[in-house]
């Protein structure tokens, strides 16, 4: 039975990943920033037993250290890291004052990229030094279509996710000697509670029309790709970034 840490796991895509991993027989640490009610409700709902809720505020990437310690203590170890937590802000370059622009850039880079690097470091440290060795470890990053397609309203988000993809690819090479496979997914627009308001009205129609399926993605569709990248079968695919966007953007 594998032990999986899913950051940002209490809602949206993260909750779907938690659900999928638990359904596959894994024990999951559901990370959330604060307000553990949703995470605890999710834990009660998913398949299997032995799941835990862990908290950390990743707006400071150094909080990753405590988060990994917390998870190792609660689950007895970590085999799979899924970094799904992310921060999104719209700040158009032509109307956002410089100070706000830079503060937003720092916030998004901290959670989306620096926290990923910090978590990867701590999890690799754990994997390499555990008695059974690192082989079989998996790291999956939840990136974004925006890294390729552009995020005109949220440039820092797009750039941070492009950085996250590159981080996953570099780690794939660096960690191959340890038998740790690393991958990423790049979801397009996904129907979550947080995106619900953008999907109503005419703007919603335009978003749905981005895909030839005339709809947006479901969290479970992202979770399926993540579950694959985390599986023992996904060795030779290490370093890949899987598009999960309904052909709304091809590269």
């Amino acid at each position: 039975m594998r032990r999986v840490l899913v950051t940002g796991g209490s809602r949206g895509i993260g909750a779907a990943i938690v659900t999928a991993m638990a359904a596959g027989g894994d024990r999951v640490a559901i990370h959330c920033r604060a307000g553990v009610q949703a995470a605890q409700a999710l834990r009660a709902r998913i398949a299997g037993t032995g799941h835990v809720v862990v908290t950390a505020d990743l707006s400071d990437a150094d909080a990753a250290t405590g988060l990994v310690e917390q998870t190792v203590r609660a689950l007895g170890g970590i085999d799979v890291l899924v970094h799904n937590a992310g921060h999104y802000e719209e700040q158009p370059i032509d109307t956002t004052p410089y100070a706000l622009w830079m503060a937003g850039w720092r916030r998004m880079l901290e959670v989306n990229l620096l926290a990923a690097a910090a978590l990867a470091h701590q999890v690799v440290d754990h994997l390499v030094h555990r008695p059974e060795g690192p082989t079989g470890g998996r790291i999956v990053m939840v990136g974004s279509r925006g890294a390729y397609r552009g995020e005109p309203e949220a440039t820092a988000y797009g750039a941070s996710k492009a950085g996250l993809h590159a981080l996953a690819q570099s780690l794939a090479v660096a960690l191959a000697p340890h038998g740790i496979a690393v991958g990423a997914v790049a979801p397009g627009f996904i129907r979550t509670e947080m995106s619900a308001n953008r999907l109503s009205g005419a703007a919603g129609d335009a978003i749905r029309a981005q895909s030839p399926y005339q709809r947006v993605g479901e969290p479970a569709e992202v979770a399926a790709a993540v579950a694959w990248l985390a599986s023992p079968a996904a060795t030779w695919t290490t370093g890949t970034v899987i598009d999960v966007n309904g052909a709304s953007y091809l590269r």
Binding site: A38, T95, P97, L100, A103, R107, E193, A196
Partner: protein
């Protein structure tokens, strides 16, 4: 942006015509009797005003209540709940706009209803005392007392005392951020978020130096004369407009204030001071989301049927509140 050359959106042009045709919509053209009448006239449930302001969504339960304020009378409250929400959701206090001299909680039914349903929150809107009968600091005191009272009675209201936010539009945004600073100063309830919709953060003459004031030649919804008239009614003789409780832009330190979403409109004399306040909060280390709607006038969120950006702006507000109040927006 050069406001004179930018064509108005059709809805905004219609709003401008309606407002200019109605002398009761401009404070600078009202005498004392007209003001008194405006203050005591309830907004009817039907008619042009009700249509323009929009209604609360279906699924919102609106109740009225009051609490005993320290000035001796009871302060009326208008409370919004989602019909299907469990108790224990966040508590959002709303302060209406109207230049400290006009307006009532009824004006905010549309946005308060949206916040209540989307966040599964209890929204409490207070009918604070208005100028010039009750000048500064009456409104500030009433709003701060509403906060402390609501925090103490969060359980009775069905809200979570650990997740309280303030929001306000125009004069109400001034009151919201003043209350946030006051709560920090006095060790009052700890706020999780502040929503500041076109906030007047500087009531001094310095507004005349800003470009958005100088460019406000078309006077859509709010003319520069209206602004001066409102300030005169609110402050009266001898009040220092540099007092941070009047002009939060002059607060010595904004550090430690709750995360903010600041909404500004391009066709608004208050645009630049809203941006400047967002910058000052950012410099103090407060996380700020700034939403700038260049083609909207002052007050556009009160006119959802005519102002096309009121929907996106409301969505941005709800998203910011949801993140800070740790709820999944519905």
């Amino acid at each position: 942006m050069n406001q004179d050359r930018e064509p108005l959106l059709p809805g905004v042009r219609l709003l401008d015509r309606i407002m200019k045709a109605n002398p009761a919509s401009s404070i600078s053209r009202m005498d004392a009797a007209a003001l008194a009448k405006a203050q005591t006239t309830a907004i009817p449930d039907r008619g042009v005003a009700a249509f323009l302001l929009g209604r609360a969504k279906r699924g919102v339960t609106i109740t009225t209540s009051d609490f005993p304020a320290s000035h001796g009378a009871r302060l009326p409250l208008r409370i919004y709940r989602s019909r299907d929400a469990a108790t224990g959701g966040p508590l959002v206090l709303n302060f209406h706009g109207g230049g400290f001299a006009l307006g009532s909680p009824r004006m905010c039914d549309w946005i308060c209803g949206i916040v209540a349903t989307r966040l599964a929150a209890v929204v409490v809107s207070v009918d604070y005392r208005l100028a010039p009968t009750h000048r500064f600091p009456a409104a500030v005191e009433d709003c701060y007392e509403t906060l402390t009272w609501a925090a103490e009675h969060a359980g009775d209201l069905g809200g979570d005392p650990d997740r309280i936010a303030v929001m306000g539009d125009s004069a109400g945004a001034n009151l919201a951020t003043v209350v946030a600073i006051m709560s920090r100063e006095e060790g009052g309830p700890r706020l999780a978020h502040q929503t500041l919709i076109y906030p007047p953060t500087d009531l001094t003459e310095n507004v005349r130096q800003t470009r958005s004031y100088q460019d406000n030649t078309r006077s859509i919804v709010l003319s520069n004369e209206d602004m001066a008239a409102f300030n005169a009614l609110y402050l009266g003789e001898g009040t220092d407009a540099r007092d941070w409780r009047v002009s939060p832009a002059y607060a010595k330190d904004l550090a430690g204030l709750p995360p903010a979403v600041v909404v500004v409109a391009g066709l608004d004399p208050l645009h630049d001071m809203g941006v400047a306040y967002a910058e000052a909060l950012t410099a103090a280390g407060v996380p700020v989301t700034l939403k700038d709607y260049p083609r909207m006038p002052h007050g556009f969120l009160s006119f959802p049927r005519l102002c096309r950006d009121s929907g996106p702006a409301t969505a941005a507000i709800v998203a910011a509140q949801a993140a800070a109040l740790r709820v999944a927006a519905r």
